[in-house]
Symmetry: C2
Subunit: 327 residues, 2 copies
């Protein structure tokens, strides 16, 4: 038996083929643009899944279940996202049903950060941890909450929208229409925005040469910081401070044992970003809430979410096998 | 059989005597000063419990269990509070053990806001609600979290310290040493502080006459607002806006079904405070997270916490009865 795990990001698409012991047999990772909307987007997902299968000599018949992660608030029972800030056009589209019909294979749909929490808990740095927050810093910022060893979904399934918690009520405008949201102050897009503003204001930044096509991504800034650009480093550090402020609030509210920080921006800059995050959490959280807290980088790298999707696919596959057994 | 529920506040002490159907038979409510420290403080608690029993013709022998709530982070297994910001001197004092020895009766110790959540869920506005946040606005601000019908304590028992979540990273200084904590921008003490500053700055505020002894409480400002003082109303409204900002963040993160707002400040000013809270939550939370959300005032009034303490005492009493039965 085999399963497929899929991580649909705002700007990337990762698919992995895994066996029933969760060993990854093959992976394809490509750039992606979630803003193209569901039908063109899911056609690309379909093409990549078929490429994954062809490369390894499999067909859909040999796949027991497929787990899918998306960067928006998922209503699990309905298999769709509702009003997702960074997935314009996908709201209310029946993603799970559409893929299930397309592939004639059982599909599960979850939020990407929830899957990241699950992946790191099952196979990564969070093994054995019952109260874990997984923070995914990419184009946007999402959180997956694991309480008492279980994913916390909230009343209607949208829990974990950390990108829209306020850290400065008079701060910069966010895509959601409010001011000072974390997503407008610490995400990949906030980092890119900050660099663009500095360049437009005439700063002689080494980063400037990256913007020849007029586009800068958070990863460009993160790479420049990693290569020693001090302005880029300042931007990354400030983003880390801002994330630390939000996480200190969550430490006070949720009292977790571990915070796992993943996502592409984090991977590129590492301690340049995690250092200020750790320092600010330490400064701003209550001693009682943080005394046993561990703050770790995700160890599954770009695979936290796709491995969480594998966990969900395996769970679904096993339920199916048990049901068949009972019939 | 009877139980006693006790709500030890920063500035009040409420004790109730209840029967096994949770009917309140008698109540005593007095001013209190938690800053006097544990031994003098608990001596006053002891005196009030004895007064409660005497008034109703009972003795400790007839009391099966006693539930106690305190305004600090409780480590339930150890029966104490650790580093409580508004209970200076109580850290690490063995509150539960001390009272259990004093009264020779089983005692449970919990955070006051957690008990408020439990009280409103069992007997108040939150009946039948599985995902509930209870917010207690008094001298400080605390939160009790009920997820899937159970109190959420966090990894080490300190969850719910909403008073120290940041809503403005450059805001006013808080007692915890950080800037812009909710407790420094929306609590009873923040409201009082704001009024004092305005008076010292020479504002001709009707409230001024309340400060003849140099002390103003949040309740004084709340009362003045209720009587029509427009400056006091502005202060209360601004506090409501600030609480709304924090709660919108929590709605995005936790996706609750209901927020119950209690505490003495809330009771005095009502909609003058709740109106801005509701409006700001609506403006600042994501549609997907807030679409089914209800925001209600606590209906048990000043008894939310003491009724939660009764729930805990009854649970303990029933466990004891079952154990005795089995022996």
């Amino acid at each position: 038996g085999k399963v497929v795990g899929i991580d649909i990001g705002a700007t990337h698409l990762t698919t992995v083929l895994a066996d029933f012991s969760a060993q990854v047999l093959y992976e394809i990772d490509n750039p992606f643009d979630v803003s193209q909307g569901p039908k063109p987007g899911l056609a690309k997902v379909d093409a990549q899944v078929h490429a994954l299968l062809e490369q390894t000599g499999h067909t859909l018949d040999g796949i027991q279940a497929i787990g899918v992660g998306v960067p928006g608030p998922v209503v699990a029972e309905r298999g769709m996202v509702i009003a997702p800030p960074i997935m314009p056009g996908w709201s209310n589209f029946p993603i799970r049903e559409y893929l299930q019909d397309l592939w004639a294979t059982p599909v599960t749909l979850n939020n990407d950060a929830e899957l990241g929490a699950l992946g790191e808990w099952a196979y990564g740095v969070g093994r054995g941890i019952s109260y874990l927050l997984y923070i995914k810093v990419g184009y946007g910022i999402g959180a997956g909450l694991l309480f008492d060893g279980k994913i916390y979904h909230g009343a209607t399934g949208s829990a974990g929208e950390i990108g829209h918690i306020t850290i400065d009520s008079d701060g910069p405008l966010c895509s959601c229409g409010n001011r000072g949201c974390l997503g407008a102050m610490a995400s990949g897009r906030a980092i890119a925005e900050r660099a663009k503003n500095l360049i437009e204001a005439g700063y002689n930044m080494r980063l400037g040469k990256l913007s020849s096509n007029g586009k800068i991504s958070g990863l460009d800034v993160a790479s420049a910081a990693q290569r020693g650009d001090t302005e880029a480093q300042d931007i990354v550090r400030e983003a880390g401070d801002n994330l630390g402020i939000a996480l200190a609030s969550l430490v006070n509210m949720m009292n977790p044992q571990m915070i796992v920080i993943g996502g592409r921006v984090t991977r590129v800059v590492g301690d340049l970003f995690l250092g200020p995050v750790r320092q600010t959490i330490k400064e701003r959280s209550l001693r009682v809430a943080a005394q046993d807290l561990r703050i770790n980088a995700a160890v599954l790298g770009h695979r936290s979410t796709s491995m969480g999707a594998v966990v969900q696919a395996l769970t679904l596959a096993f339920y199916r096998l048990i049901e068949e057994d009972e019939e």
